[in-house]
């Protein structure tokens, strides 16, 4: 009986389908393992275990192919196997040989794919490949000595090898060695029988292995994906129903349902967890093929690459795994092709010849974080800028203002590619926009960090689809929302007259929370929902939230309770709304949206700017771009014209009952926080009120406070300050146009000593021991003028510089004298980051701590600061924070 190619037709269709599917699944899996193992083997050719493993797999594949009747596949596996026999016999493992086997594996894979598509093995010619394999097998075959003749072998043509094999398999399992040396295109080798016999012995040993493996194999079963999916859905329904029951029972204090329901609840939770686990797979599954990819690339490109994988056991959802496989592969190829330099170039740069690509994965608060880094040439920021410009994605001015990280992010823009040459390896160079889109689809984020000459690092953050998060349920304008518990610091019920009250300065609603003034945002208004009453703020519920170093309050209409919710990513049509992080199904079946605190924080920033723009009118554009916006507190005191003071200097706005004011020695005083606080009128014309409440501007420092008596607090204005007329009058710095009105800007440093005559001395005594010197860099003269006395009062000698350049030249002249550098970040010309980088580079100044000041403290800028070597980062208006930071940085300096 002979078998023609495509014997599958002879069998019944339905049973063939099952058989074929089984075969394809198993064989594909085995081939994948062979692939990985071969690469491992190449690095570790003396490892007999790996070789055995490969051998066994290939052997099984060959047997199955023969059994089903797939001659091409059988012949290919046979030839590959023959070559591997030589390795087992001690032949040298050459790169050429391994490459050839890998090529064979690829062809086998291709055939399997075809098989799956068309249900039959495609006719074709593998002659050349097989001949090549045999040639190498013959050439490498030198060590095994010919032994005594093997037991009688069937000569060519007597019985078809396939049939005999099948018969033997049917009879005794894996006993196929006797006929494996079937005639192929090449003549029999004399030493082959010896090889065959040696195999027989090994076969026996292996059979033992098979048994053991069989036991392990029996511990796992195959389940169709749809079955699992269905199970998941049913469990979700069960969880929802359980939640509904819990809510109902919650309302009845004494109920016989409570006990059983509790048990049901526990069981459901465990069931849910268990089912969730079935969907989780180690990320290593997606990484399997990568070592091979890197190996092939290294060979093709002539580079030497070390590929490290960490955290392959980190588990994530099966679906997510499928979706990131391709993006990761693409990125690894990019790193190998475009990231790493040629060995010669690396050596010239003082790097080890072997380039490194490192892939790692770990869990982090409901996400899986994957990092891919290389120590190659890094991203070419200049080229990215040029391309961004050429593609009209940004203007020169915009690009100038951007940080390096921001520019680097342009690589994720659609159609962006800066590779000069199109290589066949990664196609058009980068294509990170596609990677980004893929990751976006699964609700993840991707970021890049690159240092020119040192390397590039990508960081991908993907939510574990079954991420469960604790959230606070709130209501705004009739709709419910969830706020992640992690971001919530506390809940405050604002009430007029209490310690927590809303202070309203024109449009700006601010919450006084103990010592701090927090900006507020009304959720209903932010979401542009009808039914949110702006007037409700005074007695509203405030969710005090923290994002990075920013604290703010979200005003809502009602606060319910905290719940554990399953976060589901937003639909792709809604993902671009920054305010929402996702959505979830509640216990009652309704869908509610999850607030993204970062989004609210960002909106807060732009709201402040919008307010400024509205207030300033025609100058809005100029101010919107201007980074040296200052907050001024405008007030009236005595005279008709308004007066102002820098808000950052004001510790607190107070309104005290006039009957609390005492008089002693002709001075007005009030008991304030356990101390006597003097009240100083801003000018002689200011009279302390006779009844009612007296507004005060409280200035505190080092545990002492004084209050400026004013008539009325008018407004808080954010704008760039330009003191036009400088005054000789003590107590007045000068006059400036604030909101179109000539406003007198007062000099606080004049009033402080009026409150405590020994203010300065007290300070000096306090820090007489070591008067540290601070270099203050800020392009705003006003700000320099304000901070200098502040720092003086805190006990530091201050040298000022109006620009980074000036600062650098001062440092060059006398770096020894400077203990701390405080620099504004947003300066024209060289910014604070660049200044810091330069300070770090110069060995004379490298040790001096640098504190950065900025009106914008975002996670990004803090990170940038950290990268350039800033020791601390303080918000411009955080006066106390600044002094504390300076203290901290000088604390460990020798006296």
């Amino acid at each position: 009986m002979s078998r023609a190619a495509g014997p599958l037709v002879a069998l019944k269709a339905c049973s063939m389908d099952d058989l074929l599917r089984e075969f394809l699944t198993e064989t594909n899996e085995s081939i994948d393992v062979v692939d990985v193992e071969l690469v491992r083997f190449e690095h570790d050719p003396n490892n007999a275990k790996i070789l055995d493993n490969i051998f066994r797999l290939v052997h099984t594949i060959k047997g199955t192919c023969g059994f089903i009747g797939l001659p091409r596949l059988e012949a290919l596996t046979h030839a590959a196997e023959a070559l591997m026999v030589n390795f087992r016999d001690g032949a040298r493992v050459t790169s050429e040989a391994v490459s050839l086997i890998l090529v064979t594996i690829d062809r086998i894979k291709a055939l399997l794919d075809e098989l799956e598509r068309s249900q039959s093995e495609q006719p074709g010619d593998d002659h050349e490949l097989i001949a090549e394999l045999n040639r190498i097998a013959a050439g490498a075959h030198s060590t095994a000595a010919p032994g005594p003749a093997a037991p009688a072998q069937p000569s060519a043509g007597e019985v078809s090898p396939q049939e005999l094999e099948r018969a033997l398999r049917a009879a005794s399992g894996a006993q196929a060695s006797a006929v494996r040396r079937a005639p192929t295109a090449a003549p029999e080798k004399p030493a082959a029988p010896a090889g065959a016999r040696a195999e027989e012995a090994a076969e026996g040993a292996r059979r033992g292995d098979d048994h053991a493996d069989g036991k392990i194999a029996a511990k796992s079963i195959r389940v169709h994906v749809d079955t699992l999916e269905h199970l998941m859905t049913m469990v979700s329904e069960l969880v929802l129903t359980r939640n509904q029951l819990l809510e109902i029972v919650r309302r009845h204090e004494d109920s016989e349902f409570k006990g059983p329901l509790q048990r049901l609840s526990n069981v459901t939770a465990e069931l849910q967890e268990g089912v969730m686990k079935t969907r989780m797979q180690p990320i290593g599954n997606a990484w399997q093929k990568l070592p091979r990819v890197v190996r092939d690339l290294a060979t093709d490109l002539g580079k030497s690459i070390e590929f490290e994988m960490h955290g392959a056991e980190t588990e994530l959802d099966r679906q997510v795994l499928d979706l990131i496989k391709d993006p990761l592969t693409h990125m690894v190829r990019n790193a190998a092709d475009h990231g790493l330099e040629m060995p010669a170039e690396r050596q010239a740069a003082g790097k080890p010849e072997k380039g490194m690509i490192r892939l790692s994965a770990r869990h982090e608060s409901g996400h899986i974080v994957i990092e891919l880094s290389d120590d190659g040439r890094g991203l070419n920021t200049e080229r990215i800028k040029a391309t961004a410009l050429a593609r009209g994605l940004a203007s020169e001015a915009q690009l100038e203002k951007m940080s390096e990280a921001q520019v680097q992010r342009y690589i994720f823009s659609p159609g962006f590619s800066t590779s000069q040459t199109v290589t066949s390896v990664s196609g058009r160079g980068i294509g990170m926009d596609v990677v980004r889109a893929n990751i976006d689809e699964i609700g993840g984020t991707i970021d890049v960090k690159s240092v020119p000459g040192r390397g590039t690092s990508f960081s991908i953050k993907i939510p574990l689809t079954l991420a469960i998060v604790s959230a606070l349920i709130v209501e705004a304008a009739g709709d419910r929302f969830a706020i992640p518990q992690l971001a919530v610091i506390e809940l405050v019920r604002a009430r007029a007259g209490s310690e927590h009250r809303i202070e309203r300065i024109k449009d700006a609603a601010v919450l006084r929370l103990r010592n701090k003034l927090l900006p507020l945002v009304q959720l209903g208004t932010l979401l542009k929902l009808d039914g949110s009453d702006a007037g409700q703020v005074e007695n509203g519920f405030i969710v005090v939230t923290q994002v990075g170093s920013q604290q703010f309050g979200i005003v809502v209409d009602a606060v319910f309770h905290t719940e554990e919710i399953v976060v589901k990513p937003m639909s792709s049509k809604l993902r671009q709304i920054p305010i929402f992080a996702g959505n979830t199904i509640m216990g009652d079946g309704s869908v509610i949206l999850i607030i993204e605190p970062n989004g609210i924080a960002a909106a807060l920033g732009s709201a402040a700017l919008a307010r400024t723009a509205n207030a300033a009118g025609p100058d809005a554009d100029r101010q919107a771009d201007d980074s040296s916006v200052e907050s001024m507190l405008v007030f009236r005191a005595g005279a008709a014209h308004p007066r102002a003071v820098l808000l950052s200097l004001v510790t607190r706005l107070e309104e005290i009952d006039v009957d609390k004011i005492e008089t002693a020695n002709g001075r007005a005083l009030v008991q304030y926080r356990g101390q006597l606080m003097p009240l100083i009128p801003v000018s002689d014309e200011v009279l302390i009120k006779k009844n009612g409440k007296q507004p005060l501007l409280v200035f505190s420092d080092e545990g002492r406070s004084m209050a400026l008596v004013v008539d009325e607090i008018v407004d808080i204005v954010e704008q760039k300050l330009d003191i036009e007329l400088v005054s000789e009058h003590p107590g007045v710095l000068g006059s400036a146009l604030i909101k179109g009105q000539a406003t007198e800007v007062i000099d606080i440093s004049h009033f402080l000593p009026l409150a405590f005559a020994d203010w300065q001395h007290w300070k000096e005594r306090h820090v007489a021991m070591a008067r540290r010197r601070v270099l203050l860099v800020d392009d705003s003269q006003f700000f320099r003028n304000m901070l200098s006395p502040l720092l003086n009062a805190a006990g530091y000698a201050v040298t000022s510089a109006a620009s980074a350049d000036e600062a650098l030249s001062l440092l060059r002249e006398g770096a020894a004298g400077i203990d701390v550098i405080i620099t504004d970040i947003d300066m024209p010309g060289m910014d604070g980051f660049e200044l810091t980088a330069q300070v770090r580079r110069d060995p004379r100044t490298a040790e001096i701590p640098v504190i950065g000041l900025s009106s914008l403290v975002s996670a990004e800028s803090v990170e940038r600061g950290r990268l350039v070597g800033l020791h601390d980062y303080v918000a411009k208006f955080d006066r106390q924070g600044l002094v504390a930071a300076v203290k901290e940085q000088t604390a460990d300096l020798a006296a």
């Binding site: 709304i577 959505n583 869908v591 949206l593």
Partner: protein, 148 residues
């Protein structure tokens, strides 16, 4: 090539639409809809359908029609697109029609632009016109919202 195509039909405004039945997962009544603030106006909100979160698209809005006067429960046709679930809110569900594919015509020149934008062709029925919905184009929201 099939000779006939089965369509699920539905009316939105005055117009009758057809959706190939292969694309329609189900038809359901929209019970509770959660509105999504700051979303494109065509997106009516999100809802829970058997444990899956479905994005509801208001076809009336999508076609530039004014919202319905009365506030009643809407019906929706559930579809899958790029792995996500959507519900197309319609005015009323019609019958299933089997129409010969040969009779499907390209958009007539005088077809209202709003309809033409989401149409994959028309069928001239005895008494009226059936517009075949091009699901991909219907779901192409977002970029247009920005412009709006």
């Amino acid at each position: 090539m099939n000779e006939t195509v089965e369509y699920v039909t539905a009316s939105v405004g005055e117009q009758l639409f057809g959706l190939p039945i292969a694309r329609a997962q189900d038809v359901f009544v929209v019970d509770r809809l959660t509105r999504v603030p700051l979303a494109a106006p065509e997106i009516a909100g999100v809802l829970n359908l058997r444990g899956r979160i479905v994005t509801a698209i208001d076809l009336r809005r999508r076609l530039g029609l004014a919202p319905e006067a009365e506030d009643r429960k809407r019906m929706a046709i559930g579809i899958e697109h790029k792995g996500e679930s959507y519900g197309l809110l319609i005015d009323a569900i019609g019958e299933v029609m089997k129409l010969p594919s040969a009779e499907r015509e390209d958009n007539p020149i005088n077809l209202e632009p709003r309809l033409a934008r989401v149409s994959a062709g028309v069928h001239r029925l005895d008494d009226r016109l059936l517009v075949v919905l091009d699901v991909d184009r219907v779901l192409d929201i977002g970029s247009q919202a920005e412009a709006a």
